[in-house]
């Protein structure tokens, strides 16, 4: 291990990831506004540059130039620490997201396109770092010395901690199928079998999508910052770039969830027909570029799906939110786990058809049960009142 490999290579990778993330987030905000406008039959931003393409740069400049305000009575240290910590954890989660590797010339050492390649707990690392993101929200809410912020922080901590459980449960099926937590291995397993795990883990994917949406506090689950009730939630008191950091972190969470769902359920860089470019041990520059392109396109489609969801569903009520987590998502995740484990134990390792049929039977059973018996979405029955004085 020479100095190049120990220091310079990771630093270059980190610089690329951070730069690409910031740029991606800036333009994703533009995409989101355009998508929202399209869905609501509006034009969206179209004044700055052709088709509004320079809008993100104008937004960024505005973030940097606005006045920084620290409210009176705020805990200054924690007030400043909160946006930094939430952005840092959202960025660190990308350390294990794999983009594959390439061999620059035949016989050379393959260069990994990952900051921390070969971490055996890959997936768990993302969850571990992601679970620390809640500190930024809680501290931001507490340190602002504002009731709205405090309520936003309280709601958010309960929501994020609750939805971590189904999020963790939902991916165990994928781990069982792939036999590993390493994301590289999970993608390779899908490429080798020719099946994307979405076909074998539909229930897991549904739970993952809902929990991922809740973890990144996207609209059906944006209780921590819902404007109508809490002004802006935990970042009500934040201005300028400090608010910008919260926004950046929110979109980075979205990107992380999109990457995870593509890698875990949609085959990563695997596409039928492109195997000659993307498979094999000696992937050159072209192969690596095709891999990255396929992965990026899938992730973009996933993000567009999230934006579509945002403008398609109204927000949950808070008790519904908790009911969905504890009474729907966790049982579904457990069911998925049991079905996957039983299939893994009793079926042949390459019998993917039977697994697929079993998984979709389970989905059908759940839908049937929900249609016939479920009343979780119904309003709460009124509690018996304290006995009136007759």
């Amino acid at each position: 291990m020479d100095a190049w490999q120990v220091w310079l290579e990771p630093l270059i990778k980190i610089a690329i990831v951070i730069g690409a993330l910031q740029g991606a987030v800036a333009y994703l905000i533009l995409v989101e506004r355009k998508a929202a406008a399209y869905i609501q039959d509006r034009l969206g931003p179209n004044r700055v540059g052709p088709w509004g393409l320079l809008q993100p740069i104008a937004d960024g400049a505005k973030f940097l130039l606005k006045e920084e305000i620290i409210p009176a009575g705020a805990d200054k240290v924690l007030f400043l620490l909160a946006p930094v910590s939430i952005l840092a954890t959202a960025t660190v989660a990308f350390a294990t997201i794999p983009f594959g590797y390439f061999v620059p010339w035949p016989g050379a050492r393959p260069i990994e396109l990952t900051i921390a390649p070969g971490l055996d707990i890959g997936l768990l690392f993302v969850f571990a770092v992601g679970s620390l993101g809640v500190y930024g929200v809680v501290l931001g809410g507490w340190a602002s010395n504002s009731k709205y912020s405090l309520l936003g922080g309280l709601r958010s901590s309960a929501q994020l901690v609750s939805y971590e459980i189904p999020l963790g449960l939902s991916v165990i099926g994928v781990m069982l199928l792939s036999g590993s937590m390493r994301m590289e291995t999970i993608m390779t397993a899908q490429a080798q079998s020719g099946w994307w795990w979405i076909a074998l883990q539909p229930l897991g994917f549904a739970v993952f999508m809902v929990s991922g949406c809740a973890e990144s506090a996207r609209l059906p689950f944006d209780l921590p910052e819902c404007e109508q009730e809490l002004v802006g939630g935990y970042h009500t008191e934040y201005t300028a770039m400090k608010f910008g950091m919260f926004a950046l972190a929110e979109y980075q969470h979205l990107i992380t969830v999109a990457f995870l769902s593509v890698i875990l359920y949609f085959g990563g860089w695997h596409v039928w027909g492109l195997a000659p470019f993307t498979e094999g041990n000696q992937v050159g520059l072209i192969g690596a570029a095709v891999r990255v392109a396929v992965l990026a396109i899938k992730v973009l489609l996933m993000i567009l799906l999230f934006m579509w969801i945002r403008w398609s569903w109204p927000r949950f009520r808070y008790d519904q939110l908790m009911t969905v987590a504890w009474k729907v998502m966790i049982p579904l995740g457990l069911l998925n786990l049991v079905v996957s484990a039983v299939a893994q134990e009793f079926l042949a390792p390459n019998d993917y058809m039977t697994r697929c049929v079993l998984a979709w039977l389970a989905v059908g059973g759940c839908v049937l049960y929900a249609a016939l018996f479920s009343n979780v979405a119904a309003p709460e029955p009124k509690r018996p009142q304290a006995s009136p004085q007759a």
Partner: protein
């Protein structure tokens, strides 16, 4: 004899304890200083020196406590007691004492049996165990945050410092290739339990809390207990690594303790035929847990279930029962 003379003597003996082995030439100097402080009683001086330099278990433990004494005193000074007005001075002195104790631990000499005759310190031993720059950084962060956890006046800051302790520990686990343990520490402790703490603290509004929430209740007893615990742990570790017989294979290595650890690990691997160590870490851990420790895992599971049921019972009765 005046109190400051006793203090002087104790300090001299304390210094003699660890410099005595490291630089044998300096020991008489400090011993002489200590002896002068005791009023020139050579018998007492020799007896004390005999205790301090003794190589049996008792000697080890006494020396460990002498080394940890500044840390205990420093933490006692740093603990929030009474009025906050005089706190900064106390805190600075206490922090200096605790840091001094840490330095003492690091330059503590190890036995010749391990170092092979040359004068070596604990620092050398740690570097043989894979201590890198990251290890020292994380270790110091962990220790300092632990002290700040118990000495902060604001409970929210205490919780945050504690989360830093946990993260630093997770980093230490990661360095030792215990990846799953690192992730579990971050997820369960830092990500869930401490967030729940913060949740409660936010509801409790500690800014306007009463004084009893912001001072340490039994600072002296707490420090004494911590000192005893740390002393016994450290003394035992030091004694067990320096006195126990070292296998022949380990003696030939440049870093015998690392070799010893390796030998013990291979022995453990040979004895447990169930686990295939060629597999990656997480798969390995799972097999070890569910094959070698299957019954324990099941018992822990049932225990947690009982805890959950108990919590539901306690929580349910307050709101539901009309009684």
């Amino acid at each position: 004899m005046h109190p400051h003379e006793i203090l002087m003597a104790a300090l001299g003996q304390c210094l003699a304890a660890f410099t005595g082995e490291m630089h044998a030439g300096l020991a008489p100097l400090f011993a002489w200083a200590g002896g002068a402080g005791l009023g020139g009683d050579p018998g007492l001086r020799d007896r004390l020196l005999g205790v301090v330099l003794n190589r049996d278990v008792f000697g080890y433990i006494v020396r460990t406590f002498l080394i940890l004494l500044p840390a205990g005193l420093g933490v006692y000074l740093m603990l929030p007691r009474g009025l906050p007005s005089k706190q900064p001075q106390y805190r600075r002195v206490g922090a200096a004492l605790a840091a001094f104790s840490l330095v003492l631990i690091c330059v503590w000499p190890v036995s010749e049996k391990i170092s092979g005759g040359a004068p070596r310190t604990v620092l050398w031993l740690l570097s043989g165990w894979g201590g890198s720059a990251e290890f020292y950084l994380l270790g110091i962060v962990s220790l300092a945050s632990a002290v700040l956890t118990i000495t902060s006046r604001n409970p929210v800051y205490s919780a945050l410092w504690f989360s830093l302790v946990l993260l630093a520990n997770a980093g230490l686990y990661l360095i030792q290739h215990a990846e799953f343990l690192a992730a579990a520490t971050a997820i369960v402790y830092a990500g869930a339990i401490l967030v729940t703490f913060l949740f409660v603290l936010m509801l409790a509004q500690p800014q306007g809390a009463a004084s009893y929430d912001r001072v340490s209740r039994e600072p002296f007893l707490a420090c004494l207990t911590g000192l005893l615990l740390a002393g016994v742990l450290l003394g035992t570790i030091h004694y067990s690594t320096s006195v126990e017989a070292i296998p022949n294979a380990a003696k030939q290595s440049v870093r015998p303790t690392a070799a010893l650890a390796r030998t013990q690990m291979t022995t453990a691997r040979e004895t447990s035929a169930l686990v295939d160590y060629a597999q990656p870490h997480v798969a390995n851990l799972g097999k070890s847990l569910f094959q070698e420790h299957f019954v324990s895992i099941e018992i822990v599971g049932v225990l947690l279930l009982a805890a959950v049921v108990g919590a539901m019972l306690i929580a349910g009765h307050t709101s539901e029962s009309p009684r």
